[in-house]
């Protein structure tokens, strides 16, 4: 363990050297050659392995976090404008090293050439070993290829799927650490913030996350957690239900009972927010951002019942009870529940 901690600390120092130019390092990066750089990336990869091995072990994790804190503090004293490396940064250490190196004006041009070297495609196919040569070339190629293919297939949808899968993996990892759900909640909060609120992208990611795990039993814990979290965050849930296309929502409802019930609740809430507008002869939403018309609402209900027939009976009962509480009139425009029931032919 001592050795591991020492290595961790040394690698973070290495990262600092790589990223920072100036007198403090006396041109250290200037002296780097091919082997030095390869070794640096090897050490970064080593730290990534260390993280994946020990992140579920709270005791070891704590020790490592402490070590990193120490190293960060000592580096902060020496290097002005130093950015800290935390334990959760470790899985991306190679990437951070790359960013640091490329931003460093003292990096020898020969090393940059090595990073951007375009190998022949046949080499790429054969070597699974992550060689540093051509690393940047590979990244550029993948990004460019995604853009080239984006007119044909939705880039954001593919991105959302990948992000969703990664979200579930991370959630799973956080939840397996113990019974404390706070890190997982904190993580979801950060993601929500990173997405600048529950915009379309966030909704796509959550949906993808919930849909991609339908086949794997190991994902029950994160799935349940995410569904619960979603149910508790009403605003997010509402945004989800209004931003996403109906087909996706139906898919979600089919897969997860919790979501089905939550979705039904949202639809009912929308209905309860409606008022009858005499000039238009229709029920309209009174909230500041009307998201759905009465007609659309009925359509959504019908689609939901078609996909989940078991829901129909209970909802019918509920709607009837609500209609009775409104006076049980059969006249249009008096009770949204009554009009809903007749529109749904119940």
């Amino acid at each position: 363990m001592e050795a591991v901690l020492k290595n961790l600390s040394s690698t973070v120092e290495l990262l600092a050297v790589a990223a920072n130019s100036g007198a403090a390092n006396s041109g250290a990066v200037e002296q780097w050659d091919k082997h030095t750089m390869s070794r640096a990336f090897d050490w970064a990869r080593y730290c990534e392995h260390v993280h994946s091995r020990f992140h579920n072990n709270p005791a070891i994790r704590r020790v490592m976090e402490q070590q990193l804190e120490l190293t960060n503090r000592s580096l902060q004293d020496v290097i002005p404008g130093y950015t800290e490396v935390s334990f959760s940064d470790l899985p991306r250490l190679q990437h951070l090293l790359l960013i640091g190196l490329l931003n460093n004006p003292e990096l020898p041009i020969s090393l940059i050439k090595m990073l951007f070297d375009t190998r022949s495609p046949l080499d790429n196919m054969q070597s699974e070993y992550q060689d540093v040569t051509g690393l940047c070339s590979h990244i550029i190629r993948c990004k460019a290829a995604c853009k080239v293919l984006s007119p044909l297939t939705d880039l954001s949808a593919a991105g959302a799927e990948v992000q969703g899968r990664m979200l579930m993996e991370r959630l799973g990892a956080l939840l397996s650490r113990g019974s404390d759900t706070r890190p997982a909640e904190h993580f979801l909060g950060c993601v929500l913030q990173g997405c600048q609120g529950a915009g379309r992208q966030f909704c796509l990611v959550i949906t993808a996350a919930l849909l991609t795990t339908k086949n794997s039993a190991a994902q029950t814990a994160p799935r349940e957690f995410l569904l619960d979290w979603l149910q508790n965050k009403h605003s997010v849930l509402q945004s989800l239900c209004s931003a996403l296309p109906a087909t996706l929502l139906i898919d979600l409802a089919k897969e997860h009972n919790k979501f089905r019930d939550a979705y039904c609740d949202v639809l009912k809430k929308w209905a309860s927010d409606m008022e009858y507008c005499i000039s238009e002869g229709e029920w309209v939403q009174t909230s500041t951002n009307p998201t759905v018309s009465f007609h659309k609402l009925t359509e959504k209900f019908m689609a939901l019942f078609e996909a989940c027939p078991s829901l129909r009976a209970n909802t019918e009962k509920e709607l009837k009870a609500l209609k009775i509480s409104d006076g049980d009139f059969d006249v249009k425009g008096l009770s949204v529940w009554g009009d809903l029931l007749s529109a749904l032919n119940m």
Binding site: D89, L90, P91, R92, Q94, H95, L98, I99, L102, N103, P105, I109, I112, K113, L115, F116, T118, S120, P121, L122, N124, M125, C136, S137, H138, I139, I140, R141, C142, K143, A144, A145, C146, K147, V148, L149, S150, P151, L152, T153, L155, A157, A158, G159, E161, V162, Q163, R165, M166, L167, E169, R170, F187, C190, V191, Q193, G194, C195, Q196, Q201
Partner: protein, 555 residues
Amino acid sequence: MSELQPLSQPQQTAEPLLNVQEMQFWLDKAVAWGQADSPDTQKDTCLHLNRLRDFLQQLLAHINNMSSTAETMKKLPLLGQFLGRLCWNPYVTAGDTCRRLLLQCLWGLYSEHPSNAVERKANQWIRKVLCQLATEEDDGVAQALMKHMGVPAKEYHVNVLKKMVSLLQENIGKSCCSLSDINRRCSCDSILATSDACVPLITCPEASPLIGALLQQPVTCVKEALSEHFLDALSSAYSSWNLSLEEQAVVSLWYHSLPSLEEAVLSLLESVTNTASTPQMLHQQVAQSLLPKACAQHCSMFLVANDIYRSVLKQAEGNESVRSLIQTFTRCFLRELALLQPQTSVSLKAFFPQSPQSLLVPLLTLPSEMPQESWRNHLNWLSGSLQRLTEEEEEGNGDSRSTRGHYKVFETWFLLVQCAHWVQAAVQLLVTSEPEDCGPLLWLLTFYHHPTNRWHHRALQLVRAREAWEHLRSVFLVSARPPIDRLQSLVTPLSSQPQQPSPAPLLTLSLLVNFAVFCQRPLSVSTEVLQMSRWCIILVWLMKQHVFSAHWSSD
């Protein structure tokens, strides 16, 4: 336009000076591509990629010729802008060749020891552009997510790309024209669009499943589903070894694009005729080329390959390596065909439409598929049939201008070349033949080497072949110690200038070699005979060609 005056010092290469108008043209193109993102712009970019590549090559040579960056920038002030714009065009950076050339241009502009402000600025700019290309993310949300989820950028982008490729693959699988439902819109347009979009991605390994799927989707529509541009780019990348495709994808590529099939056949011919190889190596080369497999799946491809072989044969008749190739090719093809469909006799006619039908099955049957005792009878029959066919045609066409008869003789001979295993069997049997049996076998052998009377003097060659055979027989079988002088007399005519047509060295030598190997004399005698011959080197080669293959074909 005083920009581009010839330099005072002599140019190192003979490269024409870069035209400023050309530079302007490409800069305008780069600007136009960067501004719009419509399907037309995308198409335009893809169509110009080849020319852009050539231009970048020119540019690179030009930059390397300059003594300093400052000078380059003075001569071509628009260069920086141009390269910068190209860096941000994904169609240019997705393909390996263009990206490599672009980067090399940038390296060319980097100065190790900048001596003035222009060069220092250029250095800074190059570093900045490269850093941004590799590390900047357009999607802020994705970037934040990557950070929180602890996912490195490379892994993320690779996964997104793979996801997009698999989504597109699924789409291709689903869409195909169904003739039963006329109302459904033909989805060939989307496949065409996909194939066009894949042109810059041909060298991208992550996209190869998609390219494979495009090539292998069933051809159900009358319209061409794959863009010609796509097929051309694929075939040139494949032939210059820049591409690795699955076997079936290659077969599909040849099926869709006739030029690429022709290219493959010609390159096989070239590689075979340039290097001497043993029959095993030849067999391996042919099998690895995937051509026999492809021809077994598609009759049309076999016909095309054989047409190419016919024309090569007509131009280079004496070339033994071409004939060996044709024989090996046919054998590999038959093997693949047998693997595909158990009963081959049904469709053979389709594969050999121009060959005499009565001879097809007898010739295509391998000697190894027959007991050795029945070889002689079979060969006698073959020889008789061939003789009849040939002489009929030659007699029937007294008019030397008629080509139809010669066409038939040629086709008969071509079929024999394809099935030369029987010629080898004949030579082998000649060693143990008696004078009364050798006639048909000699005729067959002579016909193989000299098919016609008119141009190859077959009748005369037959006589000479018989003489050679009798001679060799007496040398190897009759006398106790082979008389060297008699052997020399056999070999001497081969070295003299052909004043009169002499038996082809090949015919005589193949007889010689077979006698040496298959006669019942001790090995030492044979080796002594061969060592005495002045044609040792050719003999060794010939031995490898004939003897090993004869051995190999007989087991």
